[in-house]
């Protein structure tokens, strides 16, 4: 059997504040009844290594909602290469796919080998040798998860992506805010900014190197652009009134935002290179929360021009504004799916504020979340999950639901409120 050899590039991310905070943890809150049974056997030779690679892969696959991993305790054989896999054994455990592998410490880091087996087809699907420079075993494990996920589902894996989010502690005038970037599983969080004043609405540049966000550190809102790796940042806008809801355009040269410098909040587009702003909307109501369609041809935004908040779509070509949502009296903070065919939004139903999805071809709206105090939906770059902020008891937590609503998980934080998540683009 032939094994692909590939150097997995290890990237050191440098942050201004390099001290990591307490991590977010994962709780699966709903499993899909259509999840595929898979076994991820512990990697031979990984005992004593700083990370349990197979466990990370297994957790990634389970979190996606597409897979139902077999418990380790049920694995009475633990093969480490495809030649030793007894298909009958795994078939009797109702496993459809099996991941086996081994790990070895090398002079410069680690070498991991994994193979993915189709149990019912009795064949090896893929295999790869992953070279890890340094100790980035978590990054390598997420890379392996990406390969397995794509091989089986045909959908690009998003396990190597990041999430940005905001934390808050305290109340009233005594509050502390933080902006963090963590792995998509909530681990390895890194502080980007702390402030005694609110931080809001992080938005990733399409190349994943920068964040635009709102900070009140001058005791009024301003939009900043910060390089995530170096920490270097600039104040992009600081007009009178609201400077809010920055949204990076797909090609990276423009940022849509909401500014109230001319009265009530309107949608503007800023040219990132020269910071000039062009006004898009023009009426006496609130216009905010812009989002770009993946092709850059439309802007989705919230407006209360009909009396309450509803979603509208602005066409770059024609300048026309078209109302998209008609179900219920509160639909806000829309985001497009990566294929542009659906929007995810906050919908006020009889139960509360929930994450919903609307199909743009038939305008059908479906509520996805079971929680009722939801905010800030952000879509994974492969479109399979939506992360959002919600409340658990009196704490703000991040939660995620699959785009089909079948599975969900929560990312509780040990301390304070967590909110305003932004899922990064693909980073590799």
């Amino acid at each position: 059997m032939q094994s692909l050899s590939k150097v997995w590039l290890f990237c050191v991310l440098l942050f201004v504040s390099s001290v990591a905070s307490a991590n977010l943890t994962i709780e699966i809150t709903r499993g899909s009844d259509q999840a595929l049974p898979i076994g991820v056997v512990p990697f031979a030779g990984s005992e004593g290594m700083p990370e349990d690679i197979a466990q990370i892969v297994q957790d990634d696959l389970e979190r996606s909602g597409y897979f139902a991993p077999l418990a380790r305790s049920a694995m009475f054989e633990q093969p480490s290469q495809s030649g030793n896999v007894q298909f009958g054994t795994w078939r009797s455990l109702d496993v459809r796919y099996l991941v086996v592998g081994r790990a070895e410490q090398t002079a410069g880091g680690f070498e991991l080998q994994f193979e993915l087996m189709d149990i019912s087809g009795q064949r090896r699907m893929i295999g790869e040798t992953v070279t890890v420079r340094g100790n980035d075993l978590r990054g390598a494990a997420h890379y392996i998860s990406d390969q397995i996920f794509e091989e089986i589902t045909g959908i690009r894996g998003a396990f190597s992506t990041k999430i940005a989010y905001v934390t808050a502690q305290g109340v009233g005038d005594n509050m502390q805010f933080g902006l963090y970037v963590a792995d998509a599983d909530g681990r390895r969080s890194e502080q980007v900014l702390t402030s005694n004043e609110p931080i809001m609405s992080p938005s990733w540049s399409p190349d994943g190197t920068k964040l635009a966000y709102v900070s009140f550190e001058t005791e009024r809102p301003a939009i900043y652009i910060q390089d995530v790796a170096t920490g270097q940042r600039v104040m992009a806008t600081s007009f009178d009134g609201i400077n809010g809801a920055p949204a990076w355009s797909p090609e990276g040269r423009r940022i849509a935002m909401s500014l109230s410098k001319d009265g009530q909040p309107e949608i503007y587009i800023m040219d990132v290179a020269n910071r000039s702003v062009e006004r898009i909307t023009n009426n006496s109501s609130i216009d905010t929360e812009p989002a770009w369609s993946p092709d850059g041809q439309s802007l989705l935004f919230t407006s209360d021009r009909s009396g309450g908040p509803q979603l509208y779509q602005y066409s770059m070509a024609s300048g026309e504004e078209k109302r998209l949502t008609f179900t219920g009296n509160y639909n806000a903070r829309g985001r497009y799916s990566p294929d542009g065919e659906q929007i995810f939004l906050i919908h006020h139903s009889g139960r509360g504020y929930q994450v919903a999805k609307q199909d743009l071809s038939n305008d059908r709206l479906v509520v996805l979340s079971e929680s009722t105090r939801d905010e800030s939906p952000s879509v994974a770059p492969n479109g399979t999950m939506v992360i959002f902020a919600t409340q658990q008891g009196n704490s703000g937590v991040l939660s995620a639901v699959s785009a089909d609503g079948r599975s969900s998980f929560r990312l509780p934080s040990a301390q304070g409120d967590v909110r305003d998540p932004a899922w990064s683009p693909f980073l590799n």
């Binding site: 502690q169 009233g172 005038d173 609405s201 009140f216 109230s260 009530q264 919230t302 906050i346």
Partner: protein, 185 residues
């Protein structure tokens, strides 16, 4: 975790004692007028009302302190500096008109005084949309003051949306204390 209101003296003490923030961040706290506290150890130690020099009392009914406005009263910043709003409304309720009037008198009598009107909402709904609603509330107070003869140059508006609740928790008792405009001098 319900937050208890705290004695004013303790709140004042907290505002000058800067306790380190979350244990593992070691963030940059520049210790300005805002104290910061560790919410993980004692959730009950957070003051619900304004503290320190910037913020006056935000409790009590607005009408009580309005007694005896005169030349002397207009030389002092009115004590009541917070007014509250109904859900999804930016109209100044009649019970708070006397409060706003007292600030109008003070600002007219003290043309060098500057006020920043902070608009706030409760936590329901989306953050940036609430930012806009908070601005509407503060803007309606600004217009009221303007009609009462206060110069626009003395006033500015900053909306905090739902970002700085006065009280944590869910339910109308918390929400009603968070839908507010605060006069900051």
């Amino acid at each position: 975790m319900q937050l208890k209101p705290l004695a004013r003296s303790l709140a004042a003490a907290l505002s000058i004692v800067v306790i380190a923030g979350c244990s593992s961040t070691g963030g940059t706290q520049d210790g300005d007028s805002y104290g910061s506290q560790n919410g993980t150890t004692t959730g009950s130690s957070t003051a619900g009302t304004g503290t320190g020099s910037q913020y006056g009392s935000t409790t009590g009914s607005g009408s009580g302190s309005g007694a005896g406005y005169g030349q002397q009263a207009d030389s002092r910043i009115p004590e009541v500096r917070t007014i509250y709003f109904d859900y999804d409304r930016d109209t100044i309720k009649s019970e708070y008109e006397s409060v706003v009037m007292a600030h109008a008198r003070y600002l007219r009598a003290n043309p060098n005084a500057q006020v920043v009107l902070h608009g706030h909402t409760d936590e329901r709904g989306t953050r940036e949309y609430n930012m806009a609603l908070g601005e509407r509330r503060a803007g309606s107070v600004e217009r009221f003051l303007n009609i009462q003869g206060v110069s626009s140059a003395q006033m500015s508006v900053v909306s905090y949306g739902e970002e700085r609740p006065a009280v944590n928790g869910q339910g109308e008792s918390a929400y009603s204390q968070n839908r507010r405009v605060v006069f900051n001098y």
